[in-house]
């Protein structure tokens, strides 16, 4: 049986990967995928802790987080599509009508 600590370390690594992705990448879709990675690393931590604590709570939270993430995806994609329709680019460095 894999110890809980390993799952938590993996989730921390995934979370860090996500953070770095958001900070380094300049394509909103990739940035958004990195954010999804962060959310899912939290899901992994929830499930790992739930197994460790022998409680179902953590698993239920994951369902809720998944539903919320889906809502975020829909809104995020809608915003990106709206921008692409008027500008034909979505590079965040070119979104500079205002000071960034």
């Amino acid at each position: 049986m894999v110890p809980t600590a390993h799952y938590v370390i993996l989730s921390a690594l995934l979370f860090t990967t996500g953070v770095v992705g958001v900070l380094v990448r300049r394509n909103p879709i990739i940035m958004f995928m990195s954010i999804e990675l962060m959310l899912n690393s939290a899901n992994l931590a929830f499930v790992a802790f739930a197994r460790h604590l022998r409680s179902l709570d953590g698993q239920v939270f994951v369902f809720i987080v998944m539903a919320v993430a889906a809502a975020e995806v829909a809104v995020g994609l809608a915003i990106i599509v709206a921008i692409f329709r008027t500008r034909a680019t979505i590079d965040v460095d070119e979104l500079n009508v205002m000071k960034w």
Partner: protein
């Protein structure tokens, strides 16, 4: 999770206000089944009625402490007062939106539905007794606000504001969620009462996983209230989003964020406040300094008000950093006063602006007094209040916050607060000066005050002065804002 739990009508009462508001929002969506002309005209009325109706469950529960849905939600004096603040914010938002969204060609019923959904999320946030509820309600309000800030969907600025808010907002939500996961691992539960018990009894207080989780939660919520160093999104989003949306979120999202911060940190993490008070102290000081100093350099009134809202987040954080009952009451009082003075100032921005978000440079307020004396006078009141000068609600709000901080022996923070308030007088006074002392541009036409927008202005100005002259009543109410200790 306890499966033998049987929900009762009493559970619904705890989340009554947000349920009514969300139901009104869905009613607006369903009204789309009717011809566009009718649904469009009905939307603001449904929204206003829904917000008014939300006061019924608030008065029914009063300040009594009740929990609902197996302790997922709670209502107490603090929750009810915050919900009242949010409902009033919603009503005033409708007041200055009707004219604005027609002028900007944004007149769609969804606008009101989204405002109501956001308010229901904000209200739920004030009632959350479990961290997953905090996350859920934060997302309800955030997703509505992402869409609202991009509501002028063909305007590049609005799109840009929306994307920036969305990316940085969901980034912050992810921090919050990971913090919740860590707290779950450290305390074995994420109900606020359970965390407090774990910290008190099992010595989880020194558990690094739990402390790291608490830190990440503070980061996520700090982003929502625009506390430095998580404020970088604020100026761009506030400038780019439609003015009425900016006004709404500058008060609503802030109130909700502070409601959650106060409840989470004073109940769940109340016993380890020695650990987080210094951090909050530093964040509050930084927020006041950065917000006020950078605001001085702004030439666009929307950006100036954005930095001003960061600065005010700093003052409210002072009340939170005090971590005592006086601080919580002062926080509620501050938000109530801030709601009137800030929404009032934005109402003037909306009135003085022109189609296409034009006329937001501070220079275009030159001689506003000669173009519309009433609006200029009201703006003068709001600027005085935001600067914290007597006899306005802004002065009393700062006074209460600082006295709470003095009770907690935070003299340094009070000194920083007083000094930064002096700085703020400079940039608020500049707006007042150009309105009254300069001549209007030769081609500037007089501005007429239109129906509902005029009423909103009058109400906010009157309330701002009332709270400065006779603050006793609201202060008594704010004294009832007790957070139920689990």
């Amino acid at each position: 999770m306890n499966h033998s739990f049987v929900p009762k009508a009493a559970d619904m009462l705890v989340v009554g206000p947000e349920t009514i508001v969300a139901a009104a929002a869905m009613l607006i969506l369903l009204a789309e089944l009717m011809p566009a002309r009718i649904s469009k005209a009905a939307a603001p009325w449904i929204a206003a009625l829904g917000l008014l109706a939300s006061f019924i469950p608030m008065t029914t529960t009063g300040i009594s402490v009740r929990t609902g849905f197996s302790g997922m939600v709670v209502t107490d004096g603090f929750a009810v007062l915050m919900k009242a603040v949010l409902a009033v914010t919603g009503l005033l938002t409708i007041g200055f939106s009707t004219h604005y969204i027609k002028r900007e060609d944004l007149d769609r019923a969804e606008y009101y539905a989204l405002v109501l959904f956001a308010i229901s999320g904000m209200m739920l946030m004030a009632s959350s007794a479990n961290l997953i509820m905090v996350f859920l309600s934060l997302e309800i309000l955030s997703i509505s606000l992402y869409v609202l800030s991009g509501f002028a969907r063909t305007q590049p600025r609005s799109q840009e504001a929306s994307l920036k808010y969305f990316l940085l907002g969901s980034f912050a939500s992810a921090f919050l969620l990971y913090g919740i996961a860590l707290v779950y691992g450290g305390a074995g539960t994420i109900s606020l009462a359970g965390i407090a018990n774990a910290i008190a009894s099992e010595g989880a207080a020194r558990n690094p996983v739990l402390l790291a989780g608490a830190g990440l939660i503070a980061v996520g919520l700090g982003f929502k209230v625009a506390a430095v160093p998580f404020q970088m999104w604020t100026p761009d989003v506030y400038e780019g989003a439609p003015s009425s949306v900016t006004a709404f979120m500058s008060v609503g999202a802030k109130a909700a964020g502070f409601a959650a911060l106060a409840r989470v940190f004073l109940t769940a993490f109340g016993d380890i406040k020695v650990d987080w008070m210094p951090a909050l102290w530093a964040v509050a000081a930084l927020t006041m300094i950065v917000g006020n100093v950078v605001a001085v350099a702004q030439t666009d009134i929307k950006r100036m008000l954005a930095y001003s809202s960061i600065a005010h987040a700093g003052y409210i954080l002072v009340g939170l950093a005090a971590a005592n009952q006086a601080g919580v009451s002062a926080l509620v009082f501050y938000l109530a006063a801030y709601l009137f003075m800030n929404l009032g100032a934005w109402a003037v921005v909306i009135l003085a602006g022109r189609r296409g978000e034009a006329g937001t440079e501070i220079d275009s307020y030159n001689g506003l007094f000669w173009r519309n004396p009433g609006a200029a006078a009201a703006m003068g009141v709001f600027m005085f209040a935001l600067a914290g000068l007597p006899p306005t609600g802004g002065f009393m709000a700062k006074f209460y916050v600082f006295s709470a901080a003095l009770q907690a022996n935070m003299v340094g923070l009070v000194v920083i607060g007083a000094l930064t308030s002096l700085v703020s007088v400079y940039y608020y006074a500049r707006v007042t000066v150009v309105m009254f002392m300069r001549d209007p541009e030769p081609d500037a036409a007089p501005i007429s005050t239109r129906g509902l927008l005029g009423v909103t202005l009058a109400v906010t100005a009157a309330a701002t002065i009332y709270l400065g002259v006779l603050p006793g009543q609201l202060f008594q109410l704010a004294g009832l804002a007790q957070i139920a200790r689990p």
